[in-house]
């Protein structure tokens, strides 16, 4: 796996990666009973096949909260980002997008 800013831009911004993140979060969101805490753990387990560490969980939950506040405040942006979603789901997609950029996800074994 390359390790350049160009790679970062692709996995952060390429619509393919974003669509994957959205689809995954939709699936997980439903499964988690709309509980962000559970959803984040499940997202990580689905992506990495191992449980998330406490510290990572904490930063991901923070990210989720920030994103949710922002989408709550600006529904237009939410619609642009993830049409047909609510603020929580959009925020979870943002979190999934971040998780798919973690070093352990990109450089697995």
């Amino acid at each position: 796996m390359t390790n350049t800013p160009l790679q970062a831009l692709v996995t952060l911004n390429d619509p393919v990666y974003l669509d994957a993140a959205k689809a995954l979060s939709q699936k997980v969101w439903a499964k988690s009973g709309k509980n962000p805490d559970v959803a984040i753990q499940e997202l990580y387990r689905q992506l990495l096949l191992m449980p998330i560490s406490e510290a990572k969980k904490k930063s991901m939950i923070e990210l989720f909260a920030t994103a949710k506040t922002e989408f709550d405040r600006d529904p237009k942006a939410r619609d642009e980002f993830f049409p047909g979603s609510d603020a929580s789901l959009a925020a979870l997609a943002v979190t999934a997008n971040a998780m798919m950029n973690l070093d352990e996800y990109l450089t697995k074994p």
């Binding site: 160009l6 831009l9 510290a55 074994p109």
Partner: protein, 501 residues
Amino acid sequence: MSLDKLLNELVSQKLQTQTRRHFLLDCVSKMGGLALAPLLFGCELGKNGTANGGLNLSDRDLNPLSPQPAPFLGKAKSIIYLHMAGAPSQLELFDFKPELAKYHDQDCPASLLEGRKFAFIRGVPKMLGPQAKFSQHGESGAWISDYLPHFSKVADEVAFLKAMHTDQFNHGPAQLFMQTGSPRLGRPSLGSWVTYGLGTENQNLPGFVVLTSGGKTPDAGKSIWGSGFLPSVYQGVQCRSKGDPVLYLEDPHGMSRELKKHVVSAINQSNQEDFQNFGDPEILARINQYEMAYRMQIEVPEVMNINDEPAHIHELYGTQPGEESFANNCLLARKLVEKGVRVVQLYDWGWDTHGTDHDGSIDMGLRNKCRSIDRPMTALLLDLKQRGLLEETLVVWGGEFGRTPMQENREGKKMGFMGRDHHVDAFTMWMAGGGVKKGTSYGITDDFGFAGLEERTSVHDLHATILHLMGFNHEQFTYQFQGRPFRLTDVHGELITKIMA
């Protein structure tokens, strides 16, 4: 039965969650880790890094691209390297050999062929006289052919290296040799060394940018701007010269800059935790690349956009916004250097003039190719000069080897067009700008332009000189790898003091 299944499931789940890094971590923490630790963490964690726990990181560890002062005062602070991939013919551009004309179409003397191998020439080839008209230019009286009418006007700005020689006669290895100091894969490129040594000034742009033109990337692939055994953060970042310079620079719709900042910082926080645990410097590189990516999103579109340049600049370079061309790349190179990028490497493909077709002919294809670089590279020098950048920017031009004074005769047959084979014993390169003595010529070749007679310059000599001009002693600029210090110039390299100002 169901208990078996459950146990199997448990085991397989545990195995799946185990990665190489976990194994290494377990080695250290559980199995006599003390003895193993120095082996496992011998992989250069960073100058002050220790294996575990007390990570003590310098500025450089946290941001590997942070600028560093050169060991001594370098005349140049950035490089623009124009590599003509495929190897242009020195005999049609700079190395004027009137004697060779007299032998045109005669059999090549046996003394030149004895004990030599060529890439395609077989048997006894015919000599091929210069196909260009030469005249002297400038006060320095440099011989430059009519293939480069614009460039001849700046003859007094450059120093020619006329007796360059290499030891690789195929493109891939020769390009690797020219760019990394070794014909085999695995060494860091010149640009990586310089970026490693000096860091970069502009935090919003990569330190080492690569631009290609001519329709193809060089034969040796991306390893010629790779970082080899240096941390990958020092590798060249290739920007597209057509369409978007870099893909996906724009944030997804609906994601604000502010939110993106949080995304990147969440990613980096998590990665930081892994770095604390595993100490793999690649994770550190990853963290930096994400920060760089975030900052690049603003700066790159601006610097890579040539549309807003004034008309006289477009006129000067002959640029057509939107197309992939050497001219556009030259203008971009100037903009990047102006913005504090350390190394800009341009590759222009299409100089392999064997005489197999019209485009590969010495008299027609080469002339067209020259037309495409003549104005832009001249403009680059003039533009750098008028901005006061030339004195601190080193411009290097050249191919990976030269071309034979003989007409190529692939498979022993006469070719349809005039062409020259790959040649390692003599070719011309030029340097200009920071620390280079203007209007000089170094090296003399024989009457056929077959081999250097005096002041021969090896690829290592060239590298030693480039590093010197950047403020490094090539013998002391090393990187510890696999138990020994490595140098760009290996154990070779003499400074070419004659072309230094």
